[in-house]
Amino acid sequence: MEKIYRSKRYIALFILPGLLLYVTILFIPIIQSIFLSFYKWDGMSQGLFIGFKNYINLMHDNIFLLALKNNFIILIMSFVVNLTVPVFFAYVISRSVKGSKIFRTLFFLPVVISSAVVGLLWGFVFDVRIGIVHGILGALGLNSLAQFDLLGNTNTVIYVVGLVAIWQWLGYFMILFLAGINGVPEEMYESAKLDGAGEFVIFRKIVLPMITPIIKVSCIFICTGALKTFDIIYVMTGGGPIHASEVIATNLFDDAFHQMLFGYSCAISTVMLIISIGLTLIINRKSMLVSEI
């Protein structure tokens, strides 16, 4: 009977179509990208081999370094907010607050909207003439602040953009933590209460340890997500003003398609690949995924 599971013909039938498509469209371009990063190339004509020059230039490229810094800012903002606020909300909701279903549904809603659309919407929210933010400031009488274009100011723009990215994913992390918190058996709460523990202590000593694995996974999501940020920034500011909100992905896009520096962009994309793989491996050192077979 086992023979049927070993049939080479069927193995090939099931695996090859998917594998071939996957390798062709994902793996080969990655290798090409790494290869091309050593060339000076405009995407059309013959490239010129220049060795590591692209990478050396990258290290001195102020815009790229600024982009890296911005990615890092978004990362820190995401870490600080997305690992604390959603935990709090998840805990509150799990303690049988009435209407929790509505809260869950509505908090999660921004996650299913396209990031590009989210960016467009929030671009209007922060619009100086008609936006919500400036409307509120005006209504509070802070007229001078109300005229302050948060998206047009090189100092504030990256934080605004980071805030929008956080807005979109708050609900996601909340649902994640909620699932973890719901895994805590009710008896533990009761016995803790019998021992006279207050809500705070219960939270710290019972709930937190149980959701630690989810916190770990969330860290990976936050890291890789912060690295790949593109949609919101591209739509809200295009990387501006004057590159103040540039991130690696927008920088790559700009260098490749506006300045026709394909080889250089490949170097950027290779750096992104290295960072992404590195981050995933570091946080996930004991990867159990493969043993799942």
Partner: protein, 279 residues
């Protein structure tokens, strides 16, 4: 005794206030957008928060005629449905081959697919784009469909393999003893048992592809092939300060997402969290 009850009530009240504040934070921008989509430009300028006295569909008409939102929706829908189905079929087959079939290389192949989870799409897109241009794929919808299939495969295969582990082999084995061929076993016995996972992945993939921007922006050069997110990037340039049609566009686009979400909420949430919680 009394102070204890008081504390409890105040505590609960505080919690509700915080929750509702966050709710407003999450939902109000959407309401604001909806209301404004029915106001003329002047009204928006004068008082961005009022409810329109004379609601108008002007913005919607402008959006649909000048930007051809209908075509954007069609392109997005078409690409996502085709890519979604293809990805599902291929992923099910690969997952079955990895989890059920017995051969030495299955773990390596699994790792190859999982490695895809670590790859940001930006690392792939440049050579892919130039290759597509050479063979003319960037002028067709397949230029977008193929990459969408491939980028969704790793996660789909991960979920499917995990789920397949929980499906007992007994039914397959008894079918095999009765002389059932492998493809039939796969189609008529195993796959029906995997339905929950398939529903989850199908919806999740569709939503992810529908909302995707980067690949769509890079690959499709012909305006007639733009997807909805790409359309969103065009809007600011096209309409400048003509806010009404832009709000109309936003409302339509978000309404589609909300509709899909309200019908498939369970699957979407499951799809987005399954990988995280299992891991």
């Amino acid at each position: 005794m009394k102070t204890e009850i008081m504390k409890k009530i105040i505590g609960k009240l505080l919690l509700y206030i915080i929750l509702i504040t966050n709710l407003i934070f999450c939902v109000y921008p959407l309401l604001w957008m909806l209301i404004n989509s029915f106001k003329r430009n002047n009204d928006i300028f004068n008082n961005p928060w009022s409810i329109p006295l004379k609601p108008t569909f002007e913005g919607y008409m402008q959006a649909f005629t000048q930007v051809n939102v209908g075509q954007l929706i069609f392109n997005s829908g078409f690409v996502c449905v085709i890519a979604g189905i293809a990805c599902l079929v291929l992923s099910c087959m690969v997952a079955y081959g990895i989890q059920r079939m017995q051969w030495r290389l299955n773990k390596i192949v699994f790792m190859i697919f999982l490695a895809g989870l670590m790859v940001p799409v930006q690392s792939v897109v440049l050579p892919l784009y130039t290759t597509f241009v050479k063979i003319g794929l960037n002028d067709t919808r397949w230029g977008l469909i193929l990459p969408y299939i491939v980028t969704s495969m790793p996660y789909s295969i991960l979920i499917l393999v995990g789920f397949l582990k929980t499906v007992p082999r007994e039914m397959e084995e008894s079918a095999a003893i009765d002389g059932c061929s492998l493809p039939r076993m796969f189609l008529q016995i195993t796959m029906p048992l995997v339905k929950p996972a398939i529903a989850t992945i199908a919806i999740y993939n569709f939503v992810s592809m529908f909302n995707e921007l980067f690949l769509a922006l890079v690959i499709e050069d012909k305006q007639a092939l733009y997807t909805l997110p790409v359309g969103a990037t065009m809007f600011r340039g096209l309409f400048a300060t003509d806010y009404t049609p832009m709000f109309a566009f936003l409302t339509v686009t978000i309404a589609i997402s909300v509709l899909v979400y309200s019908i498939f909420q369970k699957q979407i949430v499951a799809g987005l969290t399954a990988g995280a919680i299992k891991g």
